[in-house]
C-alpha cells in the first residue's frame, strides 16, 4: 500500500475549542429572557474569567453568575458531591442597563460551566454555558516590572550585606565608642561571606522559580495531535486517514473518549491553500481508537488545511489542526451531511462585498451593520438567503439540527472558529450542562431553536430565510467567513471576507 507524502503536523500552540479564539459566545434563553453571554477565559489556570451578559430586551434586573465543573463530582470522582459556590452578582452597566459584567475564578483545568441566573418582572430564568478552562500560555515579564523588581532585588541584596556588616562592625560596641581596625576588618570578611551566602540564596531561589515555571509549563494545554495521510492506491484508494495522538498533557483526556456532536464524532473542515477558495465540511468515521477515515469526494490536487472539531465525554471540545498535500482525487459523491462550497480566491478578497453568489443563482447576503468591525467585540453576524429573483428563500431546513454553521478563519490561519446560531459552544458540551439534565432544556433554550419543532431534526420546517451567529473576532486582521445553510435538500455555502480593526 502506497501512501502519499504526508504532511505537516501543526501543533497549534493556543488551540482549544477552536483555534486562537478562546472566548466563548452563547446566545440562549434563560427562562423568559434572551441573553447573549460572552466568557473571556483566562490565559492561565487558576485564573479569572471575565463574563459579559447582554439581555436582548430591557427586562432583566439582576444577573447572578457562578462557575462549576461541567460534570458533577459524582461522575468525575468516586461518588463525591459537589456544591455550588455562592453566585456573584454581575455589575449592571450605568450607561447600558441591558449589559452586565462580572469576573469568576476558574481553579482547575478542564471542562467548566458558567451558570447564569437572570431575574426580572417575569420571574427567574437560568442557563448554563460550557467553558473549557485551559492554560494557554505563560506570561513573560514586562520590562518595567522586570526593571523595578531587579532594582528592588539589588537593593535587598546590597542592604542585607551592609546590615550584616554594620551589625558586626558596630552592633556590639558600647555606646559612643568607634570600631577599631580589627572590627572593621572582621566586618569586611563577614560582609564578603554574607554576599556569597545571599547571592547563593538568590541563585537557589532562581532555580526554584525556574522549576516552578517548568512545572507550570506542563499544565499548558497541548491539543491532541492529528496527522493526516492519503491512501491513493489499494482497496482504500481515495481515503483520508486521520491519526490522533496524545502529546501528553492531562491524564483524564483520552484520544478515544469522544462523544457525537450533531451525530458526528468529528466535523472536519478542509480548506484549500493558499487561496482558501474551496471548503469541504466532512464527517470522518471512527475506524479504531484514535483513528478516523473518510473517503474523499472529488478534490483538485493541492494543499489543504485541516480542522477537526471533536468533543470529549466530559464536554471538553478541541479543534485538531493538520495539513495535507493531495493529488487530484477522483472520489465519491458527497453524501449525508457532507458539503462543499467555493468562492473567490482570498488574494481577490473584497472585505466590502456583502453578497455571495451561490451556484443556483440564489444569493446569500451578509446584513452587516455599517462601520468597521472591531476585535474583541461580541456581535451577531446575520445572513439572509434570497432566490435568484430576489425573493426570500422559503425552503430553508435545519443542517445537522442547526439553522446554519459558520467557520471564521483568519487569513493567516491563526484563528479558526466553528460557530452555530447559539454561539461557539458545541452542542455536545451544552447537553452536559446543569440545565440540560431534564431532557434537553438547554437545547430547547438555544436561540434559533426556540419555537421550532425538533421532532424531525434536519427535516423541512418553516424556517426563516435568515440565520445569525454570535461571535467576536479575537484579534485584528483579515478573516474569511464560510457560512453554510441547507435549503431544498442542498447545503449552500456563502464565503465572505472581513477586515477587522483593533
Amino acid at each position: 500500500m502506497f501512501r502519499s507524502s504526508v504532511l505537516f503536523l501543526l501543533a497549534a500552540a493556543s488551540a482549544f475549542a477552536h483555534v486562537g479564539s478562546p472566548d466563548v459566545f452563547y446566545d440562549g434563553q434563560a427562562g423568559p429572557y434572551r441573553l447573549l453571554v460572552t466568557i473571556r477565559t483566562p490565559s492561565v489556570i487558576p485564573g479569572v474569567a471575565e463574563i459579559e451578559v447582554r439581555s436582548a430586551a430591557n427586562d432583566v434586573q439582576t444577573v447572578h453568575i457562578v462557575p462549576t465543573p461541567l460534570l458533577s463530582e459524582k461522575s468525575q470522582n468516586s461518588g463525591e458531591a459537589t456544591f455550588a459556590p455562592v453566585p456573584d452578582l454581575a455589575l449592571r452597566s450605568k450607561d447600558d442597563p441591558q449589559f452586565f459584567t462580572g469576573s469568576l475564578w476558574m481553579m482547575t483545568s478542564g471542562s467548566w460551566q458558567v451558570h447564569v441566573t437572570a431575574e426580572g418582572p417575569q420571574g427567574k430564568g437560568d442557563l448554563s454555558v460550557p467553558v473549557p478552562a485551559l492554560s494557554s500560555s505563560t506570561k513573560k515579564m514586562q520590562a518595567p516590572i522586570g526593571v523595578m523588581l531587579a532594582a528592588l532585588g539589588l537593593l535587598l541584596v546590597a542592604g542585607a550585606v551592609s546590615i550584616v556588616g554594620a551589625g558586626v562592625r558596630e552592633g556590639q560596641l558600647e555606646p559612643g565608642l568607634a570600631p577599631d581596625a580589627a572590627r572593621v576588618r572582621r566586618a569586611r570578611w563577614v560582609m564578603a561571606a554574607t554576599a556569597v551566602f545571599v547571592l547563593t540564596l538568590a541563585a537557589l531561589g532562581g532555580l526554584w522559580w525556574k522549576s516552578e515555571a517548568g512545572d507550570y509549563d506542563k499544565h499548558i494545554y497541548k491539543p491532541l495531535q492529528m496527522s493526516a495521510t492519503f491512501e491513493n492506491s489499494g482497496e482504500n484508494a481515495g481515503r483520508l486517514m486521520l491519526h490522533l495522538t496524545d502529546p501528553g498533557w492531562a491524564r483524564w483526556r483520552k484520544v478515544d473518549d469522544l462523544v457525537p456532536d450533531h451525530n458526528h464524532l468529528m466535523h472536519l473542515y478542509m480548506i484549500s491553500l493558499p487561496e482558501m477558495d474551496k471548503v469541504w465540511h466532512l464527517h470522518p468515521d471512527r475506524v479504531d481508537a484514535g483513528v478516523f477515515a473518510k473517503d474523499l469526494p472529488n478534490m483538485p490536487a493541492g494543499r489543504y488545511a485541516l480542522y477537526g472539531d471533536i468533543v470529549h465525554a466530559d464536554g471538553l471540545p478541541e479543534t485538531l489542526v493538520s495539513e495535507i498535500t493531495l493529488p487530484a482525487v477522483a472520489g465519491k459523491p458527497l453524501e449525508g451531511d457532507d458539503a462543499m462550497g467555493a468562492g473567490p480566491p482570498i488574494s481577490q478578497a473584497d472585505p466590502n462585498n456583502t453578497t455571495a453568489q451561490l451556484a443556483d443563482g440564489s444569493r446569500m447576503i451578509w446584513e452587516r451593520e455599517p462601520g468597521p468591525l472591531h476585535a474583541k467585540r461580541a456581535m451577531f453576524f446575520r445572513f439572509r438567503l434570497e432566490d435568484a429573483d430576489g425573493k426570500p428563500a422559503h425552503d430553508m431546513e435545519l443542517y445537522m439540527g442547526m439553522p446554519g454553521h459558520a467557520a471564521f478563519v483568519r487569513a493567516d490561519r491563526s484563528v479558526f472558529a466553528h460557530v452555530h446560531p447559539s454561539g461557539s459552544v458545541p452542542m455536545a458540551s451544552l447537553s452536559l450542562t446543569q440545565n440540560a439534565g431534564d431532557g434537553g432544556a438547554a437545547m430547547a433554550g438555544m436561540a434559533g431553536m426556540a419555537g421550532m419543532d425538533h421532532s424531525g431534526m434536519g427535516m423541512t420546517h418553516a424556517l426563516p430565510p435568515e440565520v445569525s451567529f454570535p461571535y467576536g473576532f479575537p484579534k485584528p486582521g483579515d478573516y474569511r467567513i464560510y457560512v453554510q445553510v441547507k435549503r431544498g435538500g442542498r447545503v449552500e455555502t456563502g464565503i465572505f471576507d472581513a477586515r477587522v480593526e483593533k
Binding site: 463525591e80 459556590p85 532585588g153 552592633g171
Partner: protein
C-alpha cells in the same frame, strides 16, 4: 545652696530617666506592625480555606502589608531622624550604613519592610503568569515571609539594643516585650511550616523533622538572649494563645465559598488547626537550661535537642490521636470544620499513610540532628543578641 543644687540635679536626672525609660513610639509602632502581620497571615489563610478567592485589597492582605508599611514608616523615620534630625542623641547608640545612622534593628526592620512591599508586585505578576495559586510556599510568598521575619527580627533587635543598655526595672519591662516579639517570630515560622504540620501528619517523621528545624532555634535564641527564667515557655505561650485564640475567634464570623469546586459546605471562617502543645517541651527546656548553665554548649545543645524531640513526640503523637476522635469535634478543638475544598477522604479522620519503619527511623534521626543543631545555632544567635548594644 548646696541642697538646692542637689535637688535640681536629682529632678533633672529623674526626668531624663523617665524619658529614657519609656518605650518609644517607634518601637510600639513596630510591635503593632508585626502583630498586624501575624493576625493578617492567619486570617488570610483562613480566607483561602473558607471563601477561596480574594483580591489584593482584602482586610487580611491589608493587615499583612500594614506590617511592611508601619516598619517602613517607623524605621524610616528613626533612620532619618537619627541621621539628620531630632533624634540625633541616638547617634551614640547607632550603627552606620550608607551614610545613615540608626539602631541596628531599625535597618533590619526597614529591609524587611522593603522586602514585604517588593513581594506585592512580584506576587501580582506571579499570579498573572502562573495562575492564582493558593500555595503558602511560592517564591513571592517566601519573599513576603522573609520580609516579615526580618521585620520581626528587626523589632526584636530594636528592643534588644535598648534592653541590653537598660537598668534592671526598665530591662524587665523590655524583656516582656522582647519575649512577646519572640512569640511573634515563632508564629511566623509556624505559619511557614503549616503545610507540614497538619495533625494528620503527626504520625509521620517529616512533621517532627520540620518542627525540629524551626522551633528549637527560636526557643534557644530568645531564651539565651533574654535570660528570663521561663523565656521558652513564655514564647510558646504567646504562640499557643494567639493560635488557639484565632481558632476560637475566626469561626464566629460567617463566610461562604466563592470558588468551585466546593466539596464541603462552609458557613463560617475556617479556623487554624488546634495549636501544638509546644509549651510542654519548652517548659522542660527552661528547667533544663536553668540547671545546666555551666555545661559545655554542645553537650547542652545535644541534651536539649533530644529532650525537645522526645517530648514533642510524647505530646503530639497522642494529642493528634485525640484530635481524630469524636471528642475533639467541638468548638474548642474544631476538628469538625473543614475547608470548602476538603475532599471527603480528608474528613474520615485518618492519618496520612504511615512511613515505612526504616524511613520513620531515618526521619527521627534527622529530626534529632536538626534539633541539636538548631539549639546550638539558637545559643550562638542568643549570645550574639546578648551583646547587642545598638
Amino acid at each position: 545652696m548646696a541642697s538646692t543644687t542637689t535637688t535640681i540635679s536629682s529632678v533633672s536626672t529623674a526626668s531624663v530617666r523617665t524619658a529614657a525609660e519609656r518605650v518609644p513610639w517607634y518601637v510600639w509602632c513596630a510591635v503593632f506592625g508585626v502583630t498586624s502581620a501575624m493576625i493578617g497571615g492567619q486570617w488570610d489563610i483562613s480566607w483561602h480555606r473558607s471563601i477561596g478567592r480574594d483580591t489584593f485589597w482584602t482586610p487580611a492582605h491589608i493587615a499583612i502589608y500594614m506590617c511592611g508599611v508601619l516598619a517602613g514608616l517607623s524605621c524610616g523615620y528613626l533612620i532619618l531622624a537619627t541621621t539628620f534630625g531630632n533624634l540625633s542623641q541616638l547617634r551614640g547608640t547607632s550603627v552606620k550604613m550608607w551614610g545613615f545612622e540608626a539602631p541596628l534593628g531599625a535597618f533590619i526592620a526597614a529591609w524587611g519592610g522593603v522586602a514585604m512591599l517588593a513581594s506585592a508586585p512580584f506576587d501580582d505578576w506571579w499570579h498573572s503568569a502562573y495562575g492564582l495559586d493558593v500555595k503558602i510556599l511560592s517564591p513571592p510568598h517566601v519573599l513576603l515571609i522573609l520580609g516579615n521575619l526580618a521585620v520581626n527580627t528587626g523589632t526584636l533587635i530594636l528592643i534588644l539594643g535598648m534592653m541590653n543598655r537598660a537598668r534592671a526595672s526598665f530591662r524587665s519591662r523590655l524583656e516582656w516585650l522582647f519575649l512577646y516579639v519572640g512569640g511573634v517570630v515563632l508564629v511566623g515560622l509556624m505559619l511557614m511550616i503549616m503545610e507540614f504540620s497538619w495533625h494528620s501528619l503527626m504520625h509521620n517523621g517529616i512533621y517532627y523533622r520540620v518542627v525540629c528545624m524551626v522551633v528549637p532555634l527560636v526557643l534557644a535564641g530568645v531564651a539565651r538572649a533574654s535570660e528570663k527564667r521561663w523565656a521558652a515557655t513564655t514564647v510558646t505561650a504567646v504562640y499557643w494563645l494567639f493560635w488557639a485564640g484565632m481558632g476560637w475567634i475566626l469561626p464566629l464570623f460567617p463566610a461562604e465559598p466563592k470558588l468551585g469546586p466546593v466539596y464541603h459546605q462552609v458557613t463560617q471562617f475556617v479556623p487554624p488547626e488546634f495549636p501544638m502543645l509546644l509549651f510542654i517541651p519548652a517548659l522542660a527546656l527552661d528547667l533544663l537550661w536553668s540547671r545546666t548553665r555551666d555545661w559545655n554548649l554542645w553537650k547542652r545543645s545535644a541534651v536539649s535537642g533530644l529532650v525537645f524531640l522526645a517530648l514533642l513526640i510524647a505530646v503530639q503523637w497522642p494529642f493528634s490521636s485525640f484530635l481524630q476522635l469524636p471528642a475533639a469535634r467541638n468548638w474548642v478543638f474544631h476538628t469538625n470544620i473543614f475547608d470548602y475544598n476538603a475532599h471527603r477522604a480528608w474528613m474520615h479522620y485518618v492519618f496520612t499513610k504511615p512511613d515505612a519503619p526504616l524511613d520513620f527511623l531515618r526521619e527521627l534521626c534527622l529530626a534529632a540532628a536538626a534539633a541539636i543543631v538548631t539549639v546550638r545555632l539558637g545559643f550562638a544567635w542568643g549570645d550574639w543578641m546578648r551583646r547587642v548594644r545598638r
